[in-house]
Amino acid sequence: MSTIDNNRFLCFNLGVEEYAIPLLTVREVIAMPEVTPVPNTPAHFLGIMNLRGQVISIMDMRQKFGIKPSVNAETSVIICEFHPVCIGVVVDSINSVINPKPNEVAETPVVNSQIKMDFITGVFQKEAGLVIFLNIAKVLNVEDYQALNEQTAKAA
């Protein structure tokens, strides 16, 4: 059971590019809600929303990656859960759940780039093109938040 789950990924589109994240980090997918902006936060931090009584922060991955959002009505929010942090991620569209065999996932092609690429865990070739596997926690700097909180807890 767990091996199957560990190997399932949720594919979504950012612009015309296709990305995937482990299904286990996904709590649910919702339609784009009304968002209250939070001042003094980075541009990709859209704000906070009310998810059945829980207040959750929403990030726009497209802005984070500098991808032009495609104009369609399919915009969705993936609610990702990394205990205890819970963050919503805005994507252009949700595509499918894939279950690739380990040998189908290739290593990240080495790119000469100044951009840190450590949040990409691999690529998968589909008929239509490449799917890029993301370590979503790294993209969202979840570890930073956790470390930050530990520090503030120590200081208090």
Partner: protein, 610 residues
């Protein structure tokens, strides 16, 4: 240990902690009323319960010590030992030791303890009267052991019933006819693992039956109840436009039920203040003993219920205040007699509800505070400039100044000047206020006014730059719509509000919210005056939308670095709004005069979509 054993042990430890608090209270009463047989009966029962149940869940070392403790108590009960201060001190010491053992057990169920020293002390105390001990009482003790063994190994309630009934005639623990029942009741209350119904009613349901619920589960429940209330109000709104009378009626009924559910679930967080108050007895006693003073503490309204979170933060301030009353307030017996007061000083600790607030009051009949002495001390310490004249009230409030102490020497009890500062910080952290009254020679009275719960606050919803924000109403002093002549602007000071002869720095909420706020003349906006910070100020908002009770929702960890928002609230339309911490806000507005923003991370790499 099996899982069930572990659960039993955890439940037992929790119960035992309560039991110990209760017993401590009894010991303290014992000293003031040594002749009251009821008290010692009660202590004895508590110790007995503790012994039996600690053996039952396998904490043998605790059980062994409790046994010695019980033997000592038996002597006191049978009047073979007089209730003298040394004995009470020894009893309290034993109580402390047991408390320590439980503290250790909380983290490690296998913890072992060194009790020999205290046991030998108990033996010494008992040997003082060893000749009085006759065989009869030894036999009684043995009988107890036999009963305890049965008690300890009987999960079966009926057997337990027999045991406790047998106990009565044989060992004379309970001369009054009611005591067997009482004991069973006590046991039922405190030792849930025995599952015994009160013996009197033959396994009828216990009227005081209760279960323990994890606080986080409760909070989840409250979350959903809050959400339900919001949905309910949305539904009510929609039903208004519906033609169906039946729908309207049903929605109305649902509204009533929802309100009821909300009230009940909010009440679930409330716990009585009694245990916290009872701890104060011990503090008064110990402090008075160190200082050679005679003080009694009188508790009023200890059944008052308080939000659990509020209560957790009240413990420390109460300790400081009670100590201060004994140390600084109450005089030595000689001085009191000379002043024509009774030798015994009294400290009153009161709790009560008043207009949706919790009121705590600590008063003493001591020497009172001399504002002139405080002012002089403050000048000596360099807190005030020389020759400063303060109003009486302002001078009294010097005691809350950090580092301020009138004591020349730092003692075990006080003098570091930290205490009242802590009190003030904690109380203000709880959105509370402190009032101080003192009359020289008559005494001092501290009143603490607290919100009943931290989970809900009264909020003022305001708008700025088309966004809504919530200000805690407790911070809002007043709101004014300034006229043109009330506003002065200068390059050096920025905008200043003239309010009844006072000049207040004027900030704009909009500068906090957006980088390029729309310029708007202040006389078209509303100024909200804040006086809870060190320096009063006013903040301009576009409009006041309303006041309402709001449930505070924590922000995620990813926003914890934003100190200017203490949380968020879900407003009537289901959208969240940020709750503003105004003092932090003003810091930020001050900073944001410079263009750089600390929180912005590096610009994301620009890529064009292929």
């Amino acid at each position: 240990m099996s899982e069930m054993d572990l659960e039993l042990a955890a439940a037992f430890i929790e119960e035992a902690t309560q039991l110990l608090e209760e017993s401590e209270q009894c010991f303290l009463n014992l000293e003031s009323m040594p002749d009251d047989p009821g008290i010692i009966e009660k202590i004895f029962r508590l110790a007995h319960n503790l012994k039996g149940s600690s053996k039952a869940v396998g904490f043998d070392s605790v059980g062994a010590f409790a046994h010695e403790f019980e033997s000592l108590l038996l002597k006191v009960k049978n009047k073979e030992l007089a209730v003298s201060p040394p004995i009470v001190t020894l009893l309290l010491k034993c109580n402390d030791h047991i408390t320590q053992m439980f503290d250790a057990l909380k983290t490690d169920y296998g913890a072992q303890f060194q009790s020999e020293e205290l046991i030998s002390e108990i033996h010494q105390a008992m040997s003082g009267i060893i000749q009085v001990v006759d065989t009869e009482s030894e036999a009684k003790l043995d009988a107890f052991d036999a009963e305890n063994a049965a008690f300890a190994t009987t999960p079966d309630p009926s057997q337990f019933e027999n045991a406790s009934q047998d106990l009565t005639p044989e060992t004379n623990v309970a001369p009054e006819p009611a005591t067997a029942e009482q004991m069973a009741e006590e046991t039922g209350k405190h030792l849930q693992q025995t599952n015994s119904p009160p013996s009197g009613q033959k396994r009828g349901p216990n009227p005081e039956e209760s279960i323990r619920v994890n606080l986080s589960r409760l909070e989840t429940l409250l979350n959903f109840v809050g959400e339900m209330v919001i949905l309910q109000s949305v539904l009510t709104e929609q039903a208004q436009s519906s033609a169906s009378a039946l729908l309207k009626k049903t929605v109305h009924q649902l509204g009533k039920v929802t309100k009821e559910v909300q009230d009940i679930s909010m009440g679930l967080r409330m716990v009585p203040i009694k245990p916290t108050f009872q701890k104060m007895q011990r503090i008064v006693r110990d402090t008075a003993q160190v200082l050679n003073k005679k003080v009694t503490l009188e508790l009023h309204g200890d059944d008052t219920e308080v939000d659990k979170t509020v209560l957790e933060h009240l413990g420390d301030p109460l300790v400081h205040m009670v100590r201060n009353s004994v140390d600084h307030g109450i005089e030595t017996p000689e001085k009191r007699l000379a002043a024509g007061k009774p030798e015994m000083g009294t400290v009153h600790l009161k709790a009560g509800h008043q207009g949706g607030k919790l009121i705590l009051e600590i008063s003493d009949d001591g020497a009172g505070i001399d504002p002139d002495v405080l002012t002089q001390k403050a000048i000596e310490k360099g807190i005030l400039a020389k020759g400063t004249k303060l109003s009486r009230e302002a001078a009294l409030h010097l005691i809350f100044h950090p580092g301020f102490s009138t004591k020349a020497v730092v003692t075990e009890v006080s003098g570091r000047g930290v205490g009242m500062d802590v009190v003030k910080t904690n109380i203000e952290g709880l959105q509370g206020q402190i009032e101080l009254e003192s009359e020289l020679g008559k005494g001092t009275r501290l009143r603490i006014i607290l919100p009943l719960t931290l989970a809900i606050i009264d909020g003022m919803v305001v708008s700025a730059e088309n966004q809504r924000f919530v200000l805690p109403l407790s911070h809002v002093h007043e709101s004014v719509i300034p006229t043109k002549k009330d506003i002065h602007e200068s390059a050096g000071l920025g905008e200043v509000l003239l309010l009844r002869g006072e000049t207040l720095p004027l900030f704009r909420m909009s500068t906090l919210v957006s980088k390029k706020p729309k310029p708007k003349p202040p006389w078209e906006m509303t100024a909200i005056v804040i006086r809870t910070t060190a320096k009063p100020f006013a903040i301009l908002v576009d409009d006041i939308i309303g006041q309402q009770q709001i449930v505070i929702k924590k922000l995620g960890q990813e926003l914890s670095q934003l100190k200017e928002f203490i949380g968020s609230a879900i407003l009537g339309d289901g959208k969240p709004a940020l709750i503003v911490e105004l003092s932090e806000c003003v810091n930020r507005i001050g900073v944001s005069a410079q263009p750089s923003r600390k929180n912005v991370s590096q610009k994301p790499p620009q890529r064009s979509a292929a």
